[in-house]
Symmetry: C2
Subunit: 329 residues, 2 copies
């Protein structure tokens, strides 16, 4: 491998001079600079970032743990996190927890060993204690881990309100909410809170069906609807789903079972990800999360912590959501 | 930050002893081992992987450059690459080139500086010379860079044959192929080669429409169909599209313009990614690429090169594809 010494030899200068040129430090004559630059080019030399990061104690790497990168919500999230991190010269190591506790803690250990400068947590399978003990900067998406760990989320409560109010405004009298898993204190549970409050306020009957973890395939979502809801679907005239993939599976289930959407059954989804945007028939009525903005804030919140030497702040960033009206309500 | 010296002090042993315990080298008494392990746990110490990789000259990091991680084909590819890399203890730094030359070469430079042990190239905006000059192991997806750089691809030629034969078997007489960009020597161009050959063999009239780079949004794909094809669509009774997103946009365009699919127009796509699998109406007839297998082979081919100390082999791995019959033919 080509080292800085080889460059110095080739250019006929000292290692210190090469280092000065590369770091733009101290006075260097134009001719010397050119000799060094030519030698770097000719030898195809690139400075050893690992050695540098050992000196500076900064790796310029963020860890990013997501539950399922194939899910369109998270693949968009990853896209934008990578984009905003690259603007501040950070690289991303992605880790796919597939909602597996062991994998998630294994990744955290690995990121620590690699001296990642910080971690963006979008997967949440562990108890909050584990994250609290981490000695590197961390920012969480959609989960409050502790008062001193910043989080970023969309306004899940408002999303729940918008969806429920919309269904009621459209005439629904018996509502169902298909929620995500409610075991952890996820901020997405606020959608359910708002759903209950709005239903009660309008004296509308309601039920909740607790969802499994994210189902990626259509078959899994369809089976969930069929097995967990099935014939009971007839008891409801409106369903607020915790994500668009399940909303789509529900609309297909209704179609197959001759339940007319939106006349007899109204459906509202959540996310407005690339799948939803591409889908034309039916166009789902859904709640749009500002994915790009969320990603940007996750990156900047982590950067801020790092600049403050890991001192955790109480940064809480909540971004508003929006109702997108489609054909299912 | 906690260092090995702190562990040694806490355990009341020498740094060498701590190192021996951590690396399982030399004789260590049970009691000493326990003292060291307790100290590691208590201090929440993790070995510095950066320092280690500087010693071993291996970073256990692969670079992965994709053109667009939000595209369902590539988000699945990333998922499986990450999965198979993690099985051999490699981490992935993902880079999104968004088909931008400058970004792509910037990322290559960065990966070299970070001493990535190898690079998986799924984005191809640069001339082959750039890749050939890279001094780190590299494996390419869907592009032949040079005889000494291994590549992995699905059998694009066979895919083109299957699609075209299927359309002809279904009675089509005037076929169109919507290709990807044909400027680079991409292996996906073999689909077009096969299309021409099969059409000629069956004396079927054909045309080709050269596509733009991957369009991610429905609007972009729809606009492409509308502007580049538009009224000319009436001249064809079958279209073989280079990916499923454009096939879907085409089917929606036909619907809007009262062209009956499949009676008056038959459509075959390519990829069978998560979008296609989820989509129920219409179910696209398409060519299935074995995404998981491709990802696995990319990882293993790179690993092989690294084990052979960067000596590039002529590994060429071509995997078969499959016709999935849906409602559009």
């Amino acid at each position: 491998m080509v080292g800085i010494k080889d460059v110095a030899k080739k250019a006929g200068v000292s290692v210190t001079t090469v280092s000065r040129v590369m770091n733009n430090r101290g006075y260097i004559g134009d001719q010397t600079r050119k000799k060094v630059e030519d030698a770097i080019k000719e030898l195809n030399y690139s400075p050893n970032q690992i050695a540098r990061s050992l000196q500076s104690n900064q790796s310029y790497i963020f860890g990013l743990i997501v539950p399922e990168i194939r899910h369109p919500f998270f693949s968009e999230m990853v896209h934008w996190i990578e984009y905003y991190a690259s603007l501040i010269n950070y690289k991303i190591i992605i880790c796919n927890s597939v909602n597996d506790k062991e994998k998630e803690s294994g990744y955290l250990k690995m990121l620590k060993e690699h001296r990642a400068d910080g971690v963006i947590m979008c997967s949440h399978t562990l108890e909050t204690d584990v994250y609290k003990k981490l000695t590197i900067p961390i920012v969480s998406f959609d989960r409050i881990i502790s008062t001193d760990i910043p989080y970023v989320a969309s306004d899940n409560y408002h999303g729940g309100e918008l969806a429920t109010q919309h269904l009621i405004k459209k005439g629904c009298k018996r509502l169902l909410h298909i929620a995500g898993p409610l075991n952890f204190e996820m901020l997405s549970n606020r959608r359910y809170d708002a759903f209950q409050v709005v239903c009660s306020r309008h004296q509308v009957e309601w039920d909740v069906l607790e969802g499994a973890n994210i189902n990626l395939t259509f078959e899994d979502n369809y089976r969930f609807v069929e097995e967990k809801l099935g014939d009971n679907l007839i008891n409801y005239d409106g369903v607020f789903c915790s994500n668009d993939l399940i909303a789509y599976a529900l609309s297909m289930y209704a179609k197959k079972n001759k339940i007319n959407v939106p006349d007899d059954l109204k459906i509202v989804g959540y996310d407005y990800n690339s799948f939803t945007k591409t889908l034309q028939s039916p166009r789902l009525t859904t709640i749009k999360q500002p994915i790009e903005t969320l990603a940007k804030q996750l990156v900047y919140s982590l950067q801020k912590q790092i600049e403050n030497k890991g001192k955790r702040g109480a940064d809480r960033s909540i971004y508003d959501v929006e109702l997108i009206e489609g054909d299912t309500t």
